[in-house]
């Protein structure tokens, strides 16, 4: 009984997605909207989602900005520091497409030129509702990734046993 309850609890826990925010050269407009999702009006933390201070604690990487040349290596570094499985969410037109900065001399972006992006949230800046929807999509993707990783591990264990 206790074991079943524990399994159920542990099954729910991963759905509390922890997000690390990286500003790769944004004007801060998107970042302000991301902070707005934490305010009592939207209160994203009631879903167990929260911003964390280290990529090593994060399930998702939230990227704003069109990725300036200075930020490219740092962004890759941060992504590499996140534990698997992980998803990348791009917030704002700049990160999604480069927007008005497209083909600018000092950009390596948009973000999908640097990292594998899972969810795009358009808008300049996107409304908090859109950001929450994007993160909710990321949760579904993360669950699928987690299942595939678990099945791979199970396959490896089966091969090792046989």
């Amino acid at each position: 009984m206790l074991k079943m309850d524990l399994a159920k609890t542990l099954g729910i826990l991963p759905r509390s997605i922890w997000v690390f925010l990286c500003n790769s050269g944004s004007c801060n407009g998107c970042d302000i909207e991301i902070v707005a999702t934490l305010t009592p009006r939207y209160d994203i933390e009631r879903f167990g989602m929260k911003l964390v201070g280290s990529p090593r604690h994060a399930d998702a990487l939230l990227v704003t900005g069109p990725v300036t040349k200075y930020m490219t290596e740092r962004l890759k570094h941060i992504y590499d520091q996140m534990p698997d499985p992980k998803v990348v969410i791009v917030v704002g037109n700049c990160g999604c497409s480069g927007d008005v900065f497209y083909k600018s001399y000092n950009l390596d972006g948009p973000v999908d030129q640097v990292l594998p992006v899972d969810v795009y949230v358009h808008g300049c800046p996107p409304r908090p509702e859109a950001i929450i929807e994007g993160v909710a999509k990321a949760v579904l993707k993360l669950e699928a990734l987690r299942e595939s990783l678990n099945s791979k591990e199970a396959d490896v264990a089966d091969v090792a046993q046989s």
Partner: protein, 113 residues
């Protein structure tokens, strides 16, 4: 004896109580440690401390904030006093012998008076 209970008036000291306390603390520490994730990829960036996405300096002193920073204002406020003390400490033995002789003379005068 050292192994018995020592009453201080404010509480007590007991070796066995401390051993039990440390054993409980150790159990908690190992429990929290075992609750951590073990599926990280060792030897990659996942294994490295987070330093804002920047390469981590090999010399820890470059990123460490010394403890003396916490009382910088204190030393700054008392700097005239510290300067006087530092100037007295010349490192020359004859100076120290001079201070000794002067102090002994003053103490002798006080005793005689």
């Amino acid at each position: 004896m050292m192994l018995g209970t020592v009453q201080s008036g404010f509480g007590y000291w007991n070796v066995y109580a401390w051993i039990i306390f440390f054993a409980l603390a150790a159990v908690l520490v190992f429990y929290f440690r075992s609750a951590g994730r073990s599926d990280y990829k060792a030897g990659t960036y996942q294994d490295e401390i987070f330093y804002g996405g920047n390469p981590v300096p090999k010399d820890g002193d470059e990123i460490a904030v010394p403890a003396s920073s916490a009382y910088w204002g204190f030393t700054e406020a008392l700097s005239p006093f510290y300067k006087l003390l530092l100037s007295l400490h010349t490192g020359i033995a004859s100076d120290y012998m001079g201070y000794f002789v002067i102090t002994m003379a003053l103490v002798s005068v006080l005793i005689v008076l």
